[in-house]
Amino acid sequence: MNKRTYWQDNLRLVFLCLVIWFVVSFGFGILLLDTLNQIKIGGLRLGFWFAQQGSIYVFVALIFFYAWRMAALDKKHGVGED
């Protein structure tokens, strides 16, 4: 077991997830709001949808994705709890 590479892998995964976290909320929902609002899917303007619905769905998926990948990393590096 190598704690250093485990921690590096973890940091890389955290960084990736936080980039997505930032892009869907602060990016799509706030900074790019006006641009994305030009795009309409059904009755929804895309920027507004990300701000009030889409970002929340992505947040939920992100946490499960992180938990799933971390469980695999725990196993790979032999630091799991069982």
Partner: protein, 580 residues
């Protein structure tokens, strides 16, 4: 059965359920009292966290705020959910591995400093008390509106219930009661939303109704809403009025604050393993997201319903506005509470509801013979009045009352527990009376929970304006004080006690100072709370994010000029970074 008796029945049955659960799962040791013996299943903990987190404000106020703020209301939706991503990725698994009882305990051990621990205790108590006062107030409002009793009586009943299960059951009792409260709350929230979605858009799922067409064939819900509100001089529903930078910082402050709230963090101490803590955060956000994705739909539907009730005909036409004498029953009911106020400024016997603060719309309004907005609607009534506005059956109204009480009680109980643990574990056991036995510590925990309830109930009795002002404070302080200290404690070996203490105090003083400067808690504000006066255009609601940045900067800078932490701290950090 009459609505009144039906409401008593439903609320009474929910109370019996909570008390039964609390009695069955009462705490017998300090481990059970503080962290439920660490035996809570991750799904159960997810539900309990959701109930713990979703307060009277989430249940009663949020959809109403969104209804009136439109796009600007997104700060609550993104801010109060995005924080869970930070919690799951950056804090919860490591704090679970740390494996002790409280947040100040982690800060004290990591920075090898009782002073750091005391600073954390002070932050925790200020944050949690601020929050709990709002919950007790929420209980009082629901009781007085739905059960027709005095606010003081409602508060006393609420205090008695929380006292019973928080003091007796500790974390263990609270956890399983919160699972039940989550079920009551989410059922009570979604049932009226489904009914109203069906009525307006013929779509049963509120999240989809949000993007659907309205049944009368006049186009998509949100397009129609943009149209009707701009016709009355308001900003378009989907674009909002706050500056982009302010929206950015408020969202960030709410996210960091959410991740730094002690009563939420401590819930992740209760699961058996580190990987359960990660999964449990996912379940928690999933359960929260059910309510948080329904809320914007409820907000949009309610705003449309309300606007069309007040303005049934074309804007500006003589009979286009609701005649006051023809007002519906719910209008009368809520007028009686003072949360809906009509004043016939132009004396025409009709209700005009429009944006009289918009100078561009003023000439139009004048040409209609309107002399100012005549209706003031408190945003809190949107969720509570929604079933009545939509003409839903009485049992739905009774259910909403039970749901609102569940939301307030579950959050109040979680807050009480972290306050009592901070007093009995972080103050008494660790500093003032280290020699007390476990039995005495358990008793001290119960006594401090009891004192905290009495104080919160007392403070929740009158201070309406006070509560509104200090809510920004709770999030701002959590973001600016605790969040950076915990994060650096996990992700840095180098940050030491001098850095952490200086960082927390800087974040705390700066954020507190900025909010008091513009909002004046306990003293008169020093400057008018308008965008021109704000630092970089950031409102007091968003300043906690700046406080957090200052905290990080000061903590790292001070640590660089002071000796590194002792070797045991390095070992502690290495230990918490791996699950086993």
């Amino acid at each position: 059965m009459e609505l009144q008796s039906l409401t008593y029945l439903v609320v009474g049955a929910s109370f019996a359920l909570y008390i039964g659960i609390a009695f069955a799962s009462r705490a017998r040791s300090t481990g059970e009292f503080y962290v439920a013996g660490k035996h809570v299943h991750p799904v159960a903990n997810g539900m309990a966290t959701a109930a713990d987190w979703m307060s009277a404000a989430s249940f009663m106020s949020m959809a109403g705020l969104i209804a009136f703020l439109g796009y600007d209301g997104s700060v609550y939706l993104m801010g109060w959910t995005g924080g869970y991503v930070l919690l799951a990725l950056l804090l919860a698994p490591y704090l679970r591995k740390f494996g002790k009882f409280t947040v100040p305990e982690f800060i004290g051990d990591r920075y090898a400093s009782q002073t750091a621990r005391m600073v954390a205790v002070v932050c925790l108590i200020v944050i949690s008390f601020t929050y709990i006062i709002g919950q007790m107030r929420g209980v009082g409002i629901v009781f007085s509106r739905f059960l027709n009793v005095d606010i003081a009586v409602g508060l006393t009943v609420g205090m008695a219930i929380v006292f019973f299960y928080a003091v007796l059951g500790g974390m263990k009792g609270i956890t399983y009661t919160q699972v039940a409260q989550y079920c009551v709350m989410i059922f009570a929230y979604t049932v009226p939303a489904v009914f109203i979605s069906l009525q307006v858009t013929d779509t049963a799922i509120p999240q989809l109704a949000f993007g659907s067409s309205v049944v009368d064939g006049s186009g998509f819900l949100l397009d129609k809403l943009d149209q009707v509100v701009t016709d009355l001089g308001f900003a378009a529903y989907t674009s909002g009025t706050k500056s982009r930078i302010d929206v950015f910082f408020i969202t960030l402050a709410l996210m960091l604050g959410t991740a730094g709230l002690p009563h939420v963090i401590v819930r992740f101490f209760t699961v058996p393993r580190v990987r359960d803590a990660r999964m449990s955060a996912g379940y928690a956000l999933f359960f929260i997201a059910i309510l948080y994705t329904v809320a914007p739909a409820v907000g949009a539907l309610a705003r449309l319903n309300l606007t069309e009730t007040i303005q049934p005909g074309p804007v500006g036409s003589p009979g286009g506005n609701l005649a006051y004498n023809d007002r519906p029953d719910w209008f009368r009911t809520w007028e009686a509470t003072g949360l809906l106020v009509f004043e016939d400024k132009n004396g025409d016997g009709h209700v005009q509801y429009y944006n009289d603060a918009n100078p561009d719309f003023a000439p139009t309004a004048e040409s209609y013979g309107w002399q100012g907005n005549e209706l003031v609607v408190d945003s809190d009534i949107i969720v509570l009045a929604n079933p009545e506005i939509a003409g839903l059956p009485d049992w739905v109204v009774a259910l909403v009352a039970a749901g609102a009480i569940a939301a307030a009680l579950s959050t109040a109980a979680g807050l009480l527990l972290v306050i009592s643990a901070a007093v009995s574990h972080d103050l008494l056991k660790s500093v003032f009376t280290p020699n007390i036995s476990e039995r005495q510590e358990l008793l001290a925990g119960r006594v401090s929970a009891a004192v905290a309830i009495l104080l919160a109930g007392y403070l929740g009795y009158e201070p309406r304006a006070f509560v509104a002002q200090v809510v920004a404070l709770a999030f701002g302080l959590a973001a600016a004080s605790l969040f950076p200290a915990i994060l650096l404690g996990i992700f840095s070996f180098r940050v030491n006690k001098q850095g952490a203490i200086a960082g927390m105090l800087t974040g705390l003083v700066f954020t507190l100072g900025y909010i008091i400067y513009f909002k004046g808690v306990f003293v008169a504000p020093f400057a008018e709370n308008i965008a021109e006066n704000w630092l970089l255009g950031i409102s007091p609601e968003g300043i906690g994010a700046v406080g957090a940045v200052l905290n990080f900067t000061v903590a790292i800078a001070v640590s660089a000029f002071t000796p590194p932490p002792p070797p045991e701290v390095r070992e502690l950090v290495e230990r918490i970074r791996v699950p086993a």
